[in-house]
Amino acid sequence: MSEETAMRSLDIAFASPSSRIKIEFQGGEPLLNFPLIRTIVSNAKMRAISLGKKVDFVIASNLALLDDAVLEFCKLNDVLLSTSLDGPADLHNKNRPRPGGNSHQLATRGIRRAKEVLGPDRVGALMTTTEASLDRVDDIVNEYLQMDMDGIFLRPLSPFGFAVKTKQFQKYDAKKWLAFYERGLRRVLEVNRQGRPFREFYAALILTRMLSDRPIGYVDLRSPAGTGLGALVYNYDGNVFASDEGRMLAETGDNAFKLGHVDQDSYQSLILSDKLIGAISSSLTQCAPECSTCVFESHCGADPVYHHATQGDALGIKPLSAFCARQKGIMSLLLDILENSPADAAILRRWATP
């Protein structure tokens, strides 16, 4: 990304009506372009002051290049770090091959150092679930406990790294993932019962929707969808996308979620583009077949990018959607625990509070 592209992107970002914005640096590996990150942060801070807005920063990095200069910069500018931790070393290294096979060692070393220098709550980790993770959820949770994290986000099966499978096999994906999720959640609850506060973050998000009226803008859990309305992605070359997945789709030649370019477009023209309005208005759960009459509708969300990617249609046919199967499965599980397991229900209720 050139400095000109970065400055044009900031023009657009600060034109959004939000009084508080978050700027997240991604890649590739964003720390490979650390000088540009410095420039963007200092420029964004000046703009924020003159516009009376608040701005937060996150760097999503594998932490392999984390050094004292980066840490000092993060500390000085209140920059959060977000990294990947897929589980124990063998699993993490398998998912993230690297010459030397030490990506796990680099990630855990980075997390420890960042916690030390920036504070325990200034670095977060996300896991990518692959097929190899499905039988390992206890090990994965234990890895997060060992790293002294305050919770884990048990994420859906990653579409990456998957070979095309036979249809017969695909059928079991949502079911297998739900079994993985339930086992993981029950392990997390057990940890809590033993006296250590530790959250499963996706359950916490859904529980906040189920047990409170606080607004949750999490992109997968909202309708109107979060694409564009929740986030914009400025690619290295100046193209603007409605979501990160939309950017990845474009890498395979599908420009359905490419909204424009920073050189030609303004915030208004991107947000009011026919493409974005079309995707959002055609995927509203409030009036979609299956969704509008679904008992879980209030707590669910539209995911036009996922359904476009898997079904070629922003709305999608929900009985055929693994997203739908996952959401219903998780909410049914949470309801079952809330109603039938008092000790665990008390823990879940705590997660729904800020």
Binding site: F25, R98, P99, I271, C294, A309, K328
Partner: protein
């Protein structure tokens, strides 16, 4: 001495009831999960659900109280229930007031610290690294093939 009137004195003489919006799903023989407009859940039997839909309920029969407290019914001329639901819905949807709070800057496409070390890598490792990059790029086209026409597992 002043006394409170009997409870009947406080209810409307002839209160016609209306249903408020709700969704439902059958969860077992004779059991339904019901969610009101803002997603509060309640479990009803088939008989209860039928009586509710037909508004064959009255104060004191248990179901009337259950349905009222779950915001499934209201007095036709009563505004409080609707106002309360509207207020809660407005709060739940207020994330819409913060338009585009997140801005993702893809500052480079270079991946995983491979690039700075690529020149120093043995040719064997370099090809592994590049193959990995390529695999990531190809992944989404495969992703699109997955899940086509796969029914939910209910």
């Amino acid at each position: 001495m002043a006394r409170f009137l009997a409870p009947e004195a406080f209810s409307a003489a002839t209160e016609t009831l209306s249903l408020l919006p709700f969704n439902l799903e059958r969860t077992g023989t004779n059991q339904y999960l019901v969610a009101n407009l803002v997603g509060d859940f309640i479990r009803l039997t088939e008989d209860e659900l039928n009586r509710l839909v037909d508004l064959q309920i009255q104060p004191g029969d248990g179901l009337y109280e259950k349905a009222y407290s779950a915001h499934l019914i209201t007095g036709t001329n009563q505004n409080a229930q609707r106002q309360l639901l509207a207020l809660r819905l407005r709060s739940r949807m207020s994330f819409l007031r913060q338009v585009t709070p997140l801005h993702i800057f893809v500052v480079t496409l270079a991946m995983r610290a491979l690039v700075p070390i690529l020149p120093g890598l043995a040719p064997k490792h370099r090809s592994v690294a590049l193959r990995y990059e390529r695999r990531n790029r190809d992944a989404l086209s495969r992703y699109r093939l997955r899940e086509s026409l796969v029914p939910n597992q209910d």
